[in-house]
Point group: C2
Chain length 337, copies 2
Amino acid sequence: MGKPAPEAKPGATIYSVAEHAGVSIATVSRVLQGAAVVAEATRQKVLTAVDELGYTPLGAARSLAVRHHEAHGLVLPELSGPYYAELLMGFEARAAELDQSVVLVLTGSRTDLVAAVRQLATRVDAIAVFGSAAIPADVVRMLRAKKPVVVIAGEPHDGIEAVAAENLGSARELAGHVLDHGRRRVLFVGDPDSGPDVRNRHAGFVAAHRDRGLDAAEPVRVALSEADGAAFARRLLAGEHEADALMCANDELALSIMTALQDAGRDVPGDIAVVGWDDVMTSRYVRPGLTTVRQPVHELGALAASRLHELVSGEPPREDAQTLPTQLVVRSSCGCA
Amino acid sequence: MGKPAPEAKPGATIYSVAEHAGVSIATVSRVLQGAAVVAEATRQKVLTAVDELGYTPLGAARSLAVRHHEAHGLVLPELSGPYYAELLMGFEARAAELDQSVVLVLTGSRTDLVAAVRQLATRVDAIAVFGSAAIPADVVRMLRAKKPVVVIAGEPHDGIEAVAAENLGSARELAGHVLDHGRRRVLFVGDPDSGPDVRNRHAGFVAAHRDRGLDAAEPVRVALSEADGAAFARRLLAGEHEADALMCANDELALSIMTALQDAGRDVPGDIAVVGWDDVMTSRYVRPGLTTVRQPVHELGALAASRLHELVSGEPPREDAQTLPTQLVVRSSCGCA
DNA sequence: CTGTTAGCGCATTCAA
DNA sequence: TTGAATGCGCTAACAG
């Protein structure tokens, strides 16, 4: 077992350390912040005292004195699926480089979103918010009045800065690829109103049709989860929709639909092509491999953290959308060999 | 576009609000905390002033005064794959219920882990740490000397509390299931030294053999990622190992190995059975479906958050491991129809 | 190179 | 029901 680790003792403050080391609190602060020059001898005395007392500075006191939290807030809808997790990893990594703590709020688990973000604004210097319908625009505006804000995967609005991955162009390319396989009854599966991302993917879908003098069908408005995909697949199999190709708003949807169709005896892509968006891990494992679009999600998170830091440092918000390039990943679910 | 959202104004403090409302700061504090009784008229004056000034309290000042951060720290290795994400969601959800902020540290992105957690201890009341080899025991002990700590997916050590999902019994059951299919050259793939979780799964593997009077083979020590699984699969195909079944330490490993074997023409489970651990999404989609073990990951995260809160509230650490039950999920990769 | 001192913004006694 | 005063622990001038 080993001996019990010493328990947390509350006591030690900068005063007790100073006293223990026989110096002033200013000196303690100096050696701990490495700010000014301190004689090596005193430095050691302080370090020893810190160690002996198990001193842990009180972040709140420092924040109050320096008038910075040295923390970034991040508001995400949830974390299921690889997309948000990857985004968060990118954000955290960059924040770490900038010596900023990360305070996370997931809106999915909140009954009172407004109170949660208001509370968040209380303890961070700036906040990144994911731009989905799960986080209403007026909440973002409310935040903006308190702290610097950047919207992730959204569009610049009312002077609120945004960062995003490219959607329209890649969606146009992807839809064009499917159409060029000769498919003529292509359905867009996903709700363009669920957020700027899906809206732009749908816009690309429409544009690809227009490019070829075709009319795009109305989008099938379903949410972006496995369950919604399965429900749609049932409706499709029941004959409610007619299609020889499906362009799904994300991979989760595409995968659950594709699998359901296959389980029902349909041939993908023979009978019907299916493509997605995100390039999640599963998309490489299924047969046929899912044709999709890869986003630089990690970089997107990192960019958000970088921009927050620059905004805190006094840089003005950017008016233009900062867009990261995406990449079409062609496998075989689209009809390619 | 809409009109620009008002920018963050730094000014407002409890003093400016008090002045604006014509009351004392004590009254402002009272209405904002809802603590004491305040006359409805004054209450409204204060609320109006708060609104007009766009007042956001400074969390650091509050923390300093109340001597609590009202925040929990969470230290995780990374977030790829559904396991940690789900854990984090459970943790965050429970923390939210308890009105605690969540400060996240991912060790994967840190060059100096010790500095990162030391810094973390500065701004939270208590810390949950994932108990893998990625986070050394002495780091945990160091933390323990500063703040209440609970180790997730670990074992109680030196008076440090732990919460975990059940591993040994389910592993014994899973390995037994495979052996009862008549497989006799079963390999455990994963490094028992990578953490208590894998160690216990391996122990169950060994126990299942012992139950049947068999000898368990030495574990194949590989890390828990897709890439490591693919590398192992190549070695297996090259004849470096001989096996008619693989019990993998997690699903990521199992999936990448299974797919690699299939791509090389091997029949799963005909030629070789493959089972995993975690029940990730992909495990339902692959063919054959992956036999695995489902953990209550969300609940595990929630339990950690609950315990942190109780420790902060003065409850003593528990000596015994708090273990959540797991569930064997039988699909067909094990040899079942 | 080091010590003294004055806030940082809030919660909270204690009086009134 | 309200206000005045004090201190939470730290940083950062300013003096020496």
